[in-house]
Symmetry: C2
Subunit: 189 residues, 2 copies
Amino acid sequence: MTIPTSRTLRADAQLNHDRILEAAAHAFARHGADTSLKAIAMNAGVGIGTLYRRFPTRDDLVEATYRNETARLCESAPALLAELSPHEAMRVWMEGFVDYILNKNGMTDALPAILASRDGLRAHSRDLLRDAIQALLDACIEDGALREGVPANDVMMALGGITLIAEHESERELASRLIDLLLAGLVLT
Amino acid sequence: MTIPTSRTLRADAQLNHDRILEAAAHAFARHGADTSLKAIAMNAGVGIGTLYRRFPTRDDLVEATYRNETARLCESAPALLAELSPHEAMRVWMEGFVDYILNKNGMTDALPAILASRDGLRAHSRDLLRDAIQALLDACIEDGALREGVPANDVMMALGGITLIAEHESERELASRLIDLLLAGLVLT
DNA sequence: CTTGCAATCGGAGCCGCCTCCGCTTATAGT
DNA sequence: ACTATAAGCGGAGGCGGCTCCGATTGCAAG
């Protein structure tokens, strides 16, 4: 007998899982961050209970919905490093990060939970982001553009803070100024 | 005839106003940030409608509840400047700000709304905070410890972002490291 | 094909948020 | 004191979040 690993979803469960994500992506895009989860469940053809079992919190659902696009953003870091100076690549990537978060409905609400996740579902996106920042940071340090000693994790958190505050100010320019400030704090003294 | 200025509350309304704030302070302290507003209204001996008319959002209520203590924090800036070097005073005040926000239940949730308020009720605390930071910043600039050209408003937002992210990480040390990073970005080049 | 059960489903139900509007009352002017 | 009226009151009701657990069903072994 094959031991059904707990990682394998039953076929019907997998189908529901996919349908929920599809419905969620559609709902967030069309109706904004405050879409009712009940509506998403209904559109996916499942009960609200099923949605909550699979995604215990709204943040979990948001993270899963955007996971692929988050991965794409992170994968863009090496390309930027190939084209630009490390310092410039870092700045451009950070600007891209802010734009990405601000443009995905629901993402700013989930961002704190994603960055804070120590493990579990949401940690996936967090790890991708930190690795991308680490790569950019390493290139900058090797290039002599930025100083050592600041953990990539701290830079990620700073960027997260900038994004959160910019969201509430709805003033995109503020984020750019704060990114400049952050980079100024990272240069070699 | 005296024109009843729209700023003057009717006597009974003033009483209710005070009772609501008293109940809110008690409830936030005792039951945390998620206290039900209905319970606050009940404890204050008013209907839920009265609470909402006076404080249209939860954030408004939080701001009003802590307004006096926020003012006290802001008033501490001149005293710090009298005792310490401007740069050190700035750092100590920022640490105090973070501790203050993190220790007041409900305050982190309301912080974005307070900082973002352009006018209206909540703007009061925001103005106090910005003025305090402006004073500290001016002293640092005159002292040659920090550079010019960064608006006090931006520094306030950066500090707000740091506080928000530290809250979700529940790692107080992170805030201190990010404050150092912020100050490093503000020094004369 | 049948069967047993672990995995999965799903919605009723409770709770808190917030709005809306008919009822009540403090107060200024006479 | 009396009264008109603006100011204030308050809770019913509609909505969404989330939980809980009895009903259902995919799946694999025989």
